[in-house]
Symmetry: D2
Subunit: 143 residues, 4 copies
Amino acid sequence: MTDLLIVGKRALAAQPFSRLLGAELTEFSAELVEIVVPITEQIKQQNGFVHGGVISYAADNALTFAGGAALGAAVVTSEYKINYLKPGIGAKLIARAMVIHAGKNQVVCRCDVFAVGADGAEILCAAAQGTIVKLPDRSARDV
Amino acid sequence: MTDLLIVGKRALAAQPFSRLLGAELTEFSAELVEIVVPITEQIKQQNGFVHGGVISYAADNALTFAGGAALGAAVVTSEYKINYLKPGIGAKLIARAMVIHAGKNQVVCRCDVFAVGADGAEILCAAAQGTIVKLPDRSARDV
Amino acid sequence: MTDLLIVGKRALAAQPFSRLLGAELTEFSAELVEIVVPITEQIKQQNGFVHGGVISYAADNALTFAGGAALGAAVVTSEYKINYLKPGIGAKLIARAMVIHAGKNQVVCRCDVFAVGADGAEILCAAAQGTIVKLPDRSARDV
Amino acid sequence: MTDLLIVGKRALAAQPFSRLLGAELTEFSAELVEIVVPITEQIKQQNGFVHGGVISYAADNALTFAGGAALGAAVVTSEYKINYLKPGIGAKLIARAMVIHAGKNQVVCRCDVFAVGADGAEILCAAAQGTIVKLPDRSARDV
């Protein structure tokens, strides 16, 4: 495990909401960020699919970590958009995010969220794109 | 309480993830949908603010319900974008969604998410816009 | 005509592409920006409707001017999303943009684009939301 | 030149606004759509860069054509978001769009817009993602 991944895992574990969802950071580099969320009953909506809010969480968080890896600093997601493509069903979600443009204070990333079956087969269930910005200081989100 | 609100509350309660977050539907009409999420420790990120994923959940779900009220049918959110504006702090989140254009099978809505302090003061903390589509049938998200 | 509107009209007239489209700034204040684009043959697509690219231009530019009015500085649009709602037909387009959150270096705005008939009736044909950022200097877009 | 490309070129040429901009379709398949816009004085903004509205036009149109290639039908762009990354400078813009998910009536695509210098070097200047929908009939945009 790289030092960076260890740092990233610690950052994710510091988020109570990520702990609540059992999210795990499995890749954390300037090239790729990967966050895994196990699919349990409690994250579903009324039809037995993963709630869109959880898919959004996975995308949002992967985007943020990708921006953080690129900027090497405390960051927040400024904005993103997401298209839901397929129902989230199976064993787990994997959100994979990549930087497509890094400026000095701002990074634009894309993220694909896959639903992974018990057999390991991956189905693209959402696609996101967003902006991550360096935090001026830890107490302010307002950039 | 209107009949529609009773129906809506039942729909929200049928979502395990919404129950996990303690979300409550407080308005449900063709004019306005309002979803309240109490701010607890477990929905926060590492800096003590509400996790962006929860703000996204609130926006996404309010958009979906607004689309459902307008279309009078089972719906899903097809896509949305969200801008985070201020940290989510205080006693609760309120997501308010409104229809801006209703077609036969598709609705476009906007949603504002407010952070509400113990004194009831509301601060706009996120703004979203998205598309909600009628479900062809209950088993398919792929429109 | 306010001094600010005069300044804004000069800024719009300094854009060759806006001159090509015959765009006109009709409101320019911290509360509202309004850009009018006459509907001519040359801005249409194959079905006789205004090309989506022109509707996007109107939204993008109104968002930028709204951000500029709020920040009182040279700005660029960092990102936006747009939903097309109705075909652009009639005599002119009116894009109206408003600030929903102003930070120190960044502003989030919404914009509605209307198609206006010869009788003055307005139909909402697109809705946009985006982020406008202060330019660090005139030569750099990369923030 | 493939038959499909010939059909596509004819469709683009049928758009007065695309003719005004001198846009050209250089790839048109289910795998890739490419639209080229020569950079001339008339498409610029006040700082000598390509106007954002033209970059949006290129992205929007490439997304639409990619959706049309995938659906094999008359389509419209329902919505998209775009992040501007770098100033549009050089000899031409190239917008490249690809389908990331195709349903029966709806397609989600991504598009990258590059600014190409006189030496052929490409710089990514914008990234977009959007939804393209099949037209119920030629006269209605309202899906």
